[in-house]
């Protein structure tokens, strides 16, 4: 076992060349088997097709033709075989090339594929800062530039990986569990291990392997998709189902061969990496301690992210442990690795205390702490929102609780019954929405009325609208948004011309007072999106990185801060920065805050439109940031709450109404 480990540079080169050759042999074998099985499968599907046609066609001549084909049918046909072979090889190569080109951006692409979040040097989280320090130390020790560091937040296990096409442009990623559970020595050992992968060229080789493996595995993915879209395949009949089934089987062959390829190179390289890590850190107990903790923890090193299977050879420890086939392991057994580092190891792993409830550790910091350095603040007794920590706002998105449901019943009871009836018809719904957004000032209202009179939907109904406005004037602030939500379905009943007219009139109504509040803007935006759904078939989530939507988030937070603190510039600035601080990537760019009294319609509109295209993870952070921005002072008015809910709705991350914790209700 020790004889296999070569720490001599030339011997390592020799080993690397030999393993490359083995890899190619395995890959060629995999492609060969796949070609044969696929060709047989398609031939079989064709046979099924001919025989069903031959036996079931009513038209005698056509049936004759098929029977003729059936009689001359042979399973092995050289021309067909050759053609299919070339076709399949082209497919596999194309898939591999596409995947490799998507990975061309470097190690960061792999990290983001597995759900990683980049952390920067100015982070305030102490464990992240410690990680960055350790990475910098290792970079000095090994003589390469500091790689980009990522954290896999969603993983509670202890694992890490390094990826990158160039030594000078690579990325190191670490799971959240590693940050929380390992001490500094052990973290150093793990990072040293990853650095040795980078230096030995493993990171590059492994990334190329992901691309190549994708070519073999993607047929299985397609096969599974054909079978899962039940109606589509059932309509096309038996041959397609057979093809789908066979593709899945081929895919599993591909996955198996891919796994074999992954583990063939990995095990030896893991030993080498362990040895190099000791060479860098001069401390074998650190790495040994990390491995012991993996052995003792219930989460182990198993990665949950769906994309991790194709990258399982990159990780520090076994990411997908196989119970039956031990030879498919991508890493040598833990006990063996530990014994090489610490000969006194007796095989007993120290049991680790797992704190399962702390999965989202990043949200457990109370927000008072971030801006006020841990001092307890005197919050005015009247504020009913003591109970809500802005950090928990994100938890409430999409998660209505029992209290929310009970509260919505009280909401419905507080709205006059007439109005609930009116809202069910398109005209009524439009009238109610106009009434809600009409100005309270009589002068402005009188200038809005003629426009309303001419509106297509509510022509001549202005006194009706005024009546509704009167009924709604006593309505609590926090019932406005639920009422709009109730009114929206009926609006779908308008014709498209009426919808356009409705929106135009609404726009002009909102504009009569000369300025656009963020509330009005968001309502208009939501209604526009609702009444003009985009025609995209596929969910158009295009943006996965903060850098592309940075400006939009800044615009949104600025508008929110200015609205919430219209009187006090300094407070608005503080609120803005509190919000920005929640997104480290943006905070690193130190955005400048400009106080604008009037929110710019176009800018916020564009910002919201772009943020809709961002991934849900980005939107989650945006809502988190908005929550911190809105709540940064002690006084959280109902307006700010509703604003937060409106923005969340605009971003399609619905926030249930805030539950009142105090006995007295807010007056409108």
């Amino acid at each position: 076992m020790t004889a296999n480990r070569s720490t001599n540079f030339f011997a390592r080169q020799r080993d690397a060349r030999k393993s490359c050759r083995n890899q190619l042999i395995l890959f060629a074998m995999a492609v060969f088997i796949i070609v044969i099985v696929t060709t047989m499968a398609i031939r079989f599907a064709w046979y099924l097709y001919i025989s069903t046609q031959a036996h079931t066609l009513i038209n005698f001549e056509a049936a004759q033709r098929y029977q003729q084909k059936l009689s001359t049918f042979t399973f092995f046909d050289p021309a067909f075989f050759l053609f299919m072979a070339m076709l399949i090889i082209c497919f596999i190569l194309a898939a591999s090339l596409i995947k490799m080109s998507s990975l061309q951006k470097g190690g960061g692409a792999v990290a983001e594929m597995l759900g990683g979040r980049a952390i920067c040097g100015v982070t305030t989280d102490p464990s992240e800062k410690r990680l960055i320090n350790v990475v910098e130390e290792m970079a000095i020790a090994s003589g390469i530039p500091v790689p980009q560091v990522y954290v896999l937040d969603a993983e509670n296990n202890i694992n890490a990986f390094a990826a990158g096409l160039e030594i000078t442009d690579s990325a190191v990623a670490v799971t959240k569990g590693t940050l929380n559970k390992l001490n500094r020595e052990e973290l150093q050992g793990v990072i040293g291990h990853e650095f040795s992968h980078i230096l030995n060229g493993d990171a590059r080789l492994n990334m190329q392997l992901i691309g190549i493996l994708f070519g073999i595995m993607f047929m299985g993915i397609i096969g599974r998709q054909i079978l899962s879209k039940g109606r589509f395949s059932a309509r096309m009949g038996l041959p397609v189902i057979a093809a789908g089934f066979c593709l899945m089987i081929i895919g599993s062959i591909g996955t198996f061969m891919g796994r074999l390829m992954q583990c063939a190179i990995s095990r030896q390289k893991e030993f080498l990496a362990d040895a190099s890590a000791v060479q860098f850190t001069r401390n074998p107990m650190g790495l040994a301690g990390a491995l012991k903790k993996i052995g003792g923890s219930t989460f182990g090193s198993q990665i949950n992210s769906p994309g991790a299977r194709q990258a399982s050879h990159l990780f520090f420890s076994e990411s997908h442990p196989h119970k039956l086939f031990a030879f498919l392991a991508t890493h040598p057994p833990l006990a063996e690795r530990i014994r090489l580092l610490d000969p006194s190891f007796d095989g007993n792993f120290p049991k680790m205390e797992e704190d399962v409830s702390k999965v989202k550790a990043q949200y457990s910091t109370p927000f008072w702490g971030t801006s006020h350095a841990g001092k307890t603040l005197h919050v005015p007794a009247g504020s009913p929102l003591l109970a809500i920590l802005p950090a928990e706002v994100v938890h409430h998105v999409g998660n209505p609780s029992k209290e929310n449901i009970e509260q919505s019943r009280t909401f419905l009871d507080s709205i006059p019954e007439e109005i609930i009836e009116t809202v069910k018809s398109p005209q009524g719904a439009a009238s109610v929405i106009y009434a809600l957004l009409m100005d309270h000032d009589a002068v402005l209202r009188s200038s809005q009325l003629p426009a309303l009179d001419r509106a297509m939907v509510v022509r001549g109904q202005t006194d009706n609208i005024l009546k509704i406005a009167g009924q709604l004037s006593g309505l609590q602030q926090n019932l406005r948004l639920p009422l709009i939500e109730l009114a929206m379905p009926a609006l779908k009943g308008l014709t498209s011309m009426e919808k356009r007219n409705f929106l135009l009139v609404l726009h002009s109504c909102i504009n009569t007072d000369g300025c656009l509040s963020l509330f009005e803007l968001s309502v208009l935006w939501i209604l526009e999106k609702y009444l003009n759904p985009s025609e995209d078939l596929f969910r158009s989530v295009k943006i996965f990185s903060f850098s592309r939507v940075g400006l939009d988030i800044v615009v949104l937070l600025q508008a929110l801060a200015c609205t919430g603190h219209a009187a006090d510039r300094a407070e608005a600035q503080e609120a803005f920065h509190a919000g920005i601080a929640r997104i480290p990537e943006l905070a690193a760019h130190k955005p400048v805050f400009t106080f604008e009294e009037i929110a710019s319609y176009a800018k916020v509109n564009n910002a919201l439109t772009r943020l809709i295209e961002a991934s849900f993870k980005i939107r989650e952070s945006v809502i988190d940031a908005c929550a911190h921005c809105a709540f940064s002072d002690h006084e959280v008015t109902v307006e700010e709450r509703e604003l937060l809910r409106i923005i969340a709705l605009a971003l399609q991350c619905p926030l249930p109404p805030f539950v009142e914790t105090s006995p007295e209700k807010d007056a409108a």
Binding site: P126, K129, R130, N133, V134, E136, E137, M138, I140, A141, S142, G143, R184, R282
Partner: protein, 66 residues
């Protein structure tokens, strides 16, 4: 505390990296084919970095933040 540890570590790692580089240079200077070139052009061995602290500087300092 973390910053102190990190700084000390960085210094020691930098020293270690330098010494590793010097060792690598010295060994390659003696191996074929580099030894031919080094003897022709009279390449000298590089000096390893020696510890220069006095005895009291080597002990762990006591740090308190109060």
């Amino acid at each position: 505390m973390e910053e102190l540890t990190s700084t000390e570590n960085k210094i020691s790692f930098a020293r270690q990296a330098y010494n590793d580089a010097v060792t690598a240079y010295n060994t390659s200077r003696e191996q074929f084919p580099d030894n031919v070139i080094s003897s022709t052009f009279n390449f000298k061995t590089a000096a390893l970095l020696e510890a220069v602290e006095k005895a009291e500087e080597r002990s762990v300092p006591k740090v308190s933040f109060t």
